[in-house]
């Protein structure tokens, strides 16, 4: 399909601006002006509408396809939350308004949404305070580690290392490194738990804290959490809960109750704000009393007269981490979702996410090698080594599934499982949809025995076949234009 730039016709317009109603001459001295026009495409509104509609149709999405992408929680995004995010009195609100003299009164509704959401998050996680500012999960991680650093600095602790299990998302070590820490990786044992003996060896007074995804990226609930927390707290370390998989335990356990000091939540996972093709997200961070005073400013407070306000008066705060109060447009969606589901709805959601994952795991087990033979939480991890021995790798199976009209599960993550296939059906999918997927997986296994060579040609039904990624990385072309 042509690029929009290749459809450009000189003189065509996509929308009309109002004519100027002010009769003044406004000129900028020539030395400050651009010489060449920006070559934005010239298309009509219909051209643009058709172009982007056609492009959208080249995507798989939750609305159109089963999308069991493990670790990403592709649950249904309720339509009414889209409506909430477009309520004009929120959508058109300027973020600097509450910072004007008396301006808080102009944004009481928006501040109330934020305040309320923080309270709900505290209740769900067992923490004492939340900041909604982080703009994505990884941004929340970085914020959380900076809170950890501020804590150690305030106590005069000399800390150098953050411990991370080897099953962790890549964002964990990357966030720790950016915050100035070195990381120690702890291997997983044969049951998918953290290797406790190795952990004990790694713990020294220089350990700043431990980052843990619970349940882990293997879809398993760590059996030794209480002991691990005791060990880390023993050296005045901070326990960080990576909330990427909170959707598996919400209502069943609360990070704040089980020894964690700080956490982030990925709203696009647990609270089903849309993934948007890769963002925007939101990554609220919760803390207990130990870390509360370090939270970023501004913070939303409720005055004794019931008015909501922004406060910057937290002298120990780490400061600004984002321009304003977080990705409000996402937070309001999450707020609506939580209000609608309520206490029982949230617990049911967790229950059915775990039920569906275990069902798929049991059904697929006879055909694919299960990485860890135990009850899983919201997702299960297979290792396609049987198929790989026949010359059919996890990526080939993924491409086969695309031709069947389902988005493939996550492949090659976690890194510690060879030929990993990670399946997360989520609570929104029905048994018939899962059964159909299971049939495709069984057929793929059979095909890997009968005719493994055909896999290399999959997918065949898409607008493109497998792209040449080596060429993309060697002959780099990232723009229609060439300036140099």
């Amino acid at each position: 399909m042509k690029l929009i730039f290749e459809k450009s016709v000189q003189g065509r317009r996509g929308f009309r601006l109002p004519a100027s109603d002010v009769n003044v001459k406004a000129e900028i001295p020539a030395k400050y002006l651009r010489v060449n026009d920006a070559q934005l495409p010239e298309v009509s509104e219909l051209d643009a509408v058709r172009h982007y509609t056609h492009l959208s149709q080249k995507n798989f999405s939750i609305d159109t396809h089963f999308y069991p992408l493990g670790s990403c929680t592709m649950k249904y995004n309720p339509k009414f939350t889209e409506g909430l995010a477009r309520v004009s009195s929120f959508m058109n609100l300027h973020p600097l308004l509450p910072q004007l003299e008396g301006g808080e009164t102009l944004t009481q509704g928006a501040l109330e949404v934020l305040y309320d959401l923080e309270q709900l998050m505290c209740a769900m996680t067992g923490f004492d305070a939340f900041t909604l500012q982080p703009l994505a999960g990884a941004h929340g991680e970085l914020t959380g580690i900076m809170l950890m650093a501020a804590y150690h600095q305030s106590k005069g602790n000399k800390k150098k290392y953050i411990i991370i299990p080897d099953s962790a998302h890549g964002t964990n070590p990357a966030s720790a490194a950016i915050a100035g820490y070195e990381t120690i990786s702890i291997p997983s044992d044969k049951n998918g738990n953290m290797d406790l003996a190795k952990l004990k060896e790694a713990i020294t007074p220089e350990v700043a804290g431990l980052m843990m995804t619970v349940p882990s990226t293997l879809g398993l609930f760590e059996n030794n959490i209480d002991e691990i927390a005791k060990l880390i707290h023993g050296v005045d370390g901070i326990m960080y809960y990576d909330g990427a998989n909170l959707n598996a335990v919400l209502g069943r356990c609360r990070p704040g109750d089980i020894g964690f000091d700080v956490m982030h939540i990925n709203t696009h996972k647990t609270f089903t704000t849309p993934h948007g093709g890769g963002g925007p997200g939101a990554g609220p961070v919760g803390v207990n009393k130990k870390l509360e005073k370090f939270l970023p400013i501004s913070r939303v407070i409720r005055r004794s007269n019931g008015q909501f306000a922004l406060s910057y008066d937290f002298p120990d705060s780490i400061g600004y981490i984002a321009p304003f109060y977080g990705n409000f447009g996402l937070l309001i969606r999450a707020y609506g979702y939580i209000l609608m589901l309520g206490k029982q709805g949230l617990i049911d959601t967790t229950n059915h996410a775990v039920l569906n994952a275990n069902y798929m795991k049991e059904r697929l087990k006879p055909y694919y090698k299960l990485a860890y033979e135990r009850i899983c939480m919201h997702e299960s991890v297979f290792s396609a080594t049987l198929q790989a021995d026949r010359g059919v790798h996890a990526i080939d199976l993924a491409k086969y599934l695309i031709d069947q009209g389902v988005h493939p599960p996550t492949v090659y993550f976690p890194l510690i499982v060879p030929e990993a296939i990670m399946i997360e059906p989520t609570e929104s999918e029905s048994k018939p949809v899962m059964d159909e997927f299971i049939d495709f997986m069984i057929q793929a296994d059979q095909l890997s025995k009968d005719n493994p060579a055909v896999f290399k040609d999959f997918p065949k039904t898409m607008p493109i076949s497998r792209p040449d990624e080596v060429k993309a990385a060697r002959d780099i072309k990232t723009s229609f234009f060439h300036h140099s």
């Binding site: 090659y412 990624e469 080596v470 990385a473 060697r474």
Partner: protein
């Protein structure tokens, strides 16, 4: 897997070919095959000093990034600038045109920490199992 007789090897699959006090360094056939199609090589700057077994080159493929460790200590006297345009040379000619760096060797005694071709061959057999 191809192995060159008179080169010396590391456990991280680098090779060094010593001529007088100059060492030419590259990665082995095993390493290039494990990495897959190489898309980019980041080489050290001229005259920089490297320590034995220290990271000094980084190699990228589509799905991986790997550090390459110096087989011996020395001063970098030449880098293979052809790799900038054509990193695939490492895949095709890992022991010849796909060399990475030439160093002026600091201490010949360090060769005792390296493997001969024969030793490397049996090392490869051991890790294959």
């Amino acid at each position: 897997m191809e192995i060159i007789e008179h080169y010396l090897y590391t456990k991280e699959h680098e090779w060094i070919n010593i001529e007088d006090n100059i060492g030419t360094i590259g990665i082995t056939d095993y390493a290039q095959s494990a990495l897959g199609d190489i898309t980019f090589v980041e080489l050290p700057s001229q005259d920089s000093e490297v320590e034995q077994f220290e990271e000094f080159v980084s190699v990228e493929s589509v799905k991986a990034a790997s550090d390459i460790f110096a087989p011996m200590s020395g001063r970098v006297i030449e880098v293979n600038s052809k790799l900038e345009e054509n990193p695939g040379l490492i895949n095709r000619y890992c022991y010849t045109k796909g060399w990475l760096v030439k160093i002026e060797i600091t201490s010949m005694e360090e060769t005792s920490n390296l493997m001969t071709a024969e030793e490397y061959e049996s090392y490869l057999e051991s890790i294959e199992q």
